[in-house]
């Protein structure tokens, strides 16, 4: 009795899957007129971002709205895990709202849950191979370099940390802060870097010494940690984005970043939600952000663009021009290792 019923229920699903197979991954011909028309008809898109709103999310949304006046961008910012959680819950409730999301590790659980729409971005064709997923699940929108940030009023001359070992100096005990963000741009990224550079045994030894220094866990973004360093609440912040430092230094804040090599390099990945309520607007938005024009907006915000033809506003934030060494955590490495690194963070530092 049950079998035919089940089959009947599944039939539409099958048709849907077959149809999806036929059209995806689609190769869109840039921001062509058809896409613009379809997107404008949808009239809106929702972007769940992990970027800092007033620094980049809002300016990018406004620039997009200016270029495509009929499409309203609704954005919000949360941590990687919060964004993943919200989208998963929306899918569970059968009421997806998100169209586009970004983040360093946001995609992992969503990919496992089958909630990411493959889309090969036309505008990103000229990007380096490792900046885009072969299946089109993600494309790098900007790159990050994470390092030690210090307050220039409080940390001077010989005190400025030059190596990771300098962080073990007893005078920094309780005076360092970092985010609780459980991604490769947070403590797990720091941990994997140490383990890779120093080897497992020396690395673990280093980490337990660092844990004894009791770095303060700030349950907020890397930006909040940096603000606390600027305000002088902590002389030193770990896992600080070096472009955030540049943004604040430009406003004459007493802040600089240290060259504790190798720096941690990660990428911010942009993806489309499977079953997004505004699929065309989502595609158009992704095309825009990854186009030269969109990437120039990224650069204007002091973020480090992924586009090979768009230079960073402060070139020294990148390894080649800034003459520093960085070790990249690729999305694949992050996907494979993040659980282990996070577990280490939870047991040693919380």
């Amino acid at each position: 009795m049950l079998q035919p019923l089940k089959l009947l229920l599944r039939a539409p699903m099958l048709v849907f899957l077959l149809a999806a197979q036929a059209v995806s991954p689609a190769h869109a011909a840039g921001a062509d007129a058809a896409l613009v028309a379809a997107a404008t008809k949808e009239g809106a898109l929702v972007w769940y971002s992990t970027l800092i709103v007033n620094q980049i999310t809002r300016p990018l949304a406004l620039a997009f709205e200016k270029k495509y006046p009929g499409i309203k961008v609704q954005y919000s910012r949360a941590t990687s895990s919060d964004v993943a959680l919200k989208i998963t819950n929306e899918a569970r409730a059968g009421r997806l709202q998100a169209d586009v999301f970004d983040g360093t590790n946001t995609i992992d659980p969503l990919q496992d849950a089958g909630l990411v729409e493959p889309y090969l971005v036309d505008a990103a064709k000229s990007y380096p191979q490792d900046y885009r997923d072969k299946a089109g699940l993600w494309t790098t929108m900007n790159v990050y370099f994470l390092t030690v940030g210090y307050n220039t009023d409080l940390v001077k001359g010989a005190d400025i940390p030059k190596t990771y070992d300098d962080l073990l100096n007893p005078k920094w005990a309780g005076k360092m802060a970092w985010t609780t963000d459980p991604t490769s741009s947070g403590p797990p990224g720091f941990i994997q870097n140490i383990l890779a550079v120093k080897g497992k045994e020396t690395g673990m030894d280093y980490l337990s010494k660092l844990a004894a220094q009791k770095p303060v866990n700030i349950p907020a973004s890397q930006r909040v940690v940096l603000d606390k360093v600027i305000a002088g609440e902590f002389p030193i912040g770990l896992m600080i984005f070096n472009h955030h430092v540049a943004i604040s230094a430009e406003k004459a804040a007493p802040i600089a970043w240290a060259r504790t090599e190798p720096l941690v390099a990660t990428a911010n990945l942009l993806s489309i939600v499977k079953g997004a309520p505004h699929p065309n607007a989502a595609k158009l938005f992704v095309e825009y952000v990854l186009s030269e024009e969109g990437q120039r907006e990224v650069a204007k915000a002091y973020y480090l663009p992924a586009h090979p033809n768009v230079p960073a506003t402060v070139a020294e934030l990148k390894p080649l021009q800034g003459k520093f060494e960085a070790r990249t955590v690729t999305p694949d490495m992050a996907r494979a290792g993040i659980d282990g690194w996070t577990a280490l963070y939870q047991t040693m530092f919380r």
Partner: protein, 561 residues
């Protein structure tokens, strides 16, 4: 035979059904979540409860909750109690300031106070700055600690304690105090031997009430506790629900523990407060006891009131003002005076989302308050007049008192993720949670309002031939209006004040003010947070003053028990 045509019974049934549909599923969901294993085919298990004691430092978490709630209860009783006594029972000057501070703090989201206090007591705040200026080394105050948590939570609750104890002191029997004074007792002796003893049952009941609310407090544990690695029950629940993937079993087990604890405490609370009323023998005489003359100490008392005013109100607001005018966060300094900028205010006014979320907050709070007062009008009236099923209605409506805000958030989310009603991620789900959480307050307002009306009015109307609905519409509703308006305003205010309920339910498309402030803090937009927070406080303070005058006029003094 035609019982279903009896309008009284029919009303009871309808209201009862609505209340049951609202109140019961979250409770069932919690208990179920705590005893079912995760995964595809759930089986019964007690492993989540075992985990509380073995893994995750569960026992430590529970102990932290009790220390935190106990400490902040004592502190708020001390501050609020002293203020209440000075204002209600002495001739100290500047007494009006205590009222101003209370009303404004009634309109400010807790999370905003916490952000301000974190700055003030933090390493670059004025207190530690002053300490270093006086030659101290390092930090005098370590705000990221259990002590810091208790201090801030104590400050947060002291205005409410002031309000509630003020009512007790005002209604106290002054005969015995007079007698003591005439027999030659000093002011201190009289206070110690007579006033405090008389007020003791009320003080104990209030202490228990504040303790219960502090167990469920979320703002301070989240913003102050987590960075200090001090977890309490609420933050443990929040933490396990915001992990990826969320650990529902663990969160539910903690939630069940909390609900159990709160239920036991509520039982004692209701016994205590029933007792407390017995002591208020002279209420309704309509006279005010003669205030104590403090003599030369008057000015010291005035200084204390002023100090409290500065600490509880002016300092946090000044801190927010300062932060809102700076391009990046920095301590109070002369150098900072040169970099003042209105950029943050410009951003708040120009960015579309702030206006939207402010509108969201107002709509959902007003909607919830209206639904609650409508339901409560029927349920409260039937319960107070001992109508059919009155006791059951009362119990159903009061059921949600056992839910701390964060627990209700988890439960409501799980319920509406499962039922095929697509309201997750909309304002509706927040509205439903508000209705559940604040229904008891609406009930209390109506109940107290009905008890003030003598039943002979309704009987007279009945004798004169008015039907059930006519009595309700022409007699009860008009006379209840002041209590209803006060109740509505009160619910509107606290719905906009609390973070814990909405923090798990708000979505990017359905943001409310308290959650937005929390998000801004987490995201690192401190300047915009301060600017938005201040503008929001101004708006809510207006509502709070409205509430204050309305409840004085309506003669209802219910502030959240």
């Amino acid at each position: 035979m035609r019982w279903f045509l009896d309008p009284r019974l029919l009303t009871s049934l309808i209201v009862g059904a609505i209340l049951a549909v609202l109140m019961l599923p979250p409770l069932v969901m919690l208990v179920q979540g705590s005893v079912l294993s995760a995964g595809g085919s759930p089986v019964w298990t007690l492993s989540h409860f075992r985990d509380l004691f073995t893994a995750h430092r569960g026992l430590e978490t529970m102990a932290n909750s009790i220390v935190f709630a106990g400490g902040s209860t004592l502190l708020s009783l001390l501050i609020g109690g002293v203020m209440a006594w000075l204002v209600e029972r002495t001739n100290a000057p500047l007494r009006g300031l205590a009222w101003v501070a209370t009303v404004i703090s009634l309109g400010t989201p807790y999370v905003l106070h916490v952000v301000a206090w974190l700055f003030l007591l933090g390493p670059v705040g004025p207190f530690n700055d002053l300490y270093r200026m006086l030659g101290g080394n390092g930090n005098l105050v370590q705000v990221q600690s259990m002590g810091g948590m208790i201090l801030i939570e104590g400050f947060l609750w002291s205005p409410l304690v002031f309000l509630l104890l003020g009512a007790t002191f005002r209604a106290a029997n002054a005969d015995m105090e007079e007698a003591a004074r005439i027999s030659g007792a000093t002011v201190l002796q009289t206070v110690w031997r007579i006033s405090i003893r008389l007020a003791m049952p009320a003080i104990l009941a209030l202490a228990l009430f504040v303790f219960i609310r502090a167990i469920g407090a979320f703002e301070v544990p989240a913003l102050v506790g987590i960075p200090s690695r001090i977890y309490v029950l609420t933050t443990a629940v929040y933490d396990s629900m915001t992990r990826m993937p969320p650990n529902l079993g663990y969160a539910s087990a903690f939630a069940v523990v909390m609900v159990g604890l709160v239920s036991v405490l509520l039982h004692f609370y209701s016994r205590l407060s029933a007792n407390a009323e017995k002591y208020q023998s002279v209420t309704g005489k309509g006279y005010r006891p003669r205030p104590f003359d403090l003599g030369a100490w008057r000015w010291a008392a005035g200084g204390l009131i002023l100090l409290n005013f500065l600490v509880v109100l002016v300092l946090p607001l000044l801190a927010l003002l300062w932060l809102s005018l700076q391009p990046y966060s920095r301590g109070f300094s002369l150098a900072g005076m040169k970099s003042l900028t209105a950029d943050n205010y410009r951003a708040v006014i120009e960015a579309p989302n702030y206006l939207e979320l402010a509108a969201n907050s107002l709509i959902v709070a007003a909607g919830a308050a209206s639904v609650i007062m409508l339901l409560a009008a029927f349920a409260g009236w039937i319960a107070a007049r001992r109508g059919p099923g009155g006791r059951t209605l009362d119990q159903l409506a009061m059921l949600s008192l056992v839910f701390p805000g964060i627990v209700l958030g988890v439960a409501v989310m799980e319920v509406y993720l499962r039922v095929p009603l697509p309201i997750y991620g909309t304002l509706w789900i927040i509205g439903i949670a508000y209705v559940i959480r604040f229904m008891p307050f609406g009930m209390r307002y109506v109940y107290a309002g009905v008890l003030q009306l003598h039943i002979e009015l309704e009987e007279a109307a009945g004798v004169a031939g008015a039907g059930y609905l006519t009595v309700l519409r022409r007699i009860v509703a008009p006379l209840l209006t002041p209590a209803m308006v006060a109740g509505w305003l009160f619910i509107f205010l606290i719905a906009n004040k609390e973070l814990a309920i909405a923090v798990l339910l708000a979505s990017p498309g359905s943001q409310v003010a308290a959650v937005a402030v929390f998000d801004l803090w987490v995201n690192g937009q401190g300047g915009e947070l301060a600017a938005f927070g201040l503008l929001w406080t101004v708006l809510m303070t207006g509502v709070a003053f409205l509430f204050f005058f309305q409840s004085r006029r309506g003669g209802t003094d219910i502030y959240g028990n």
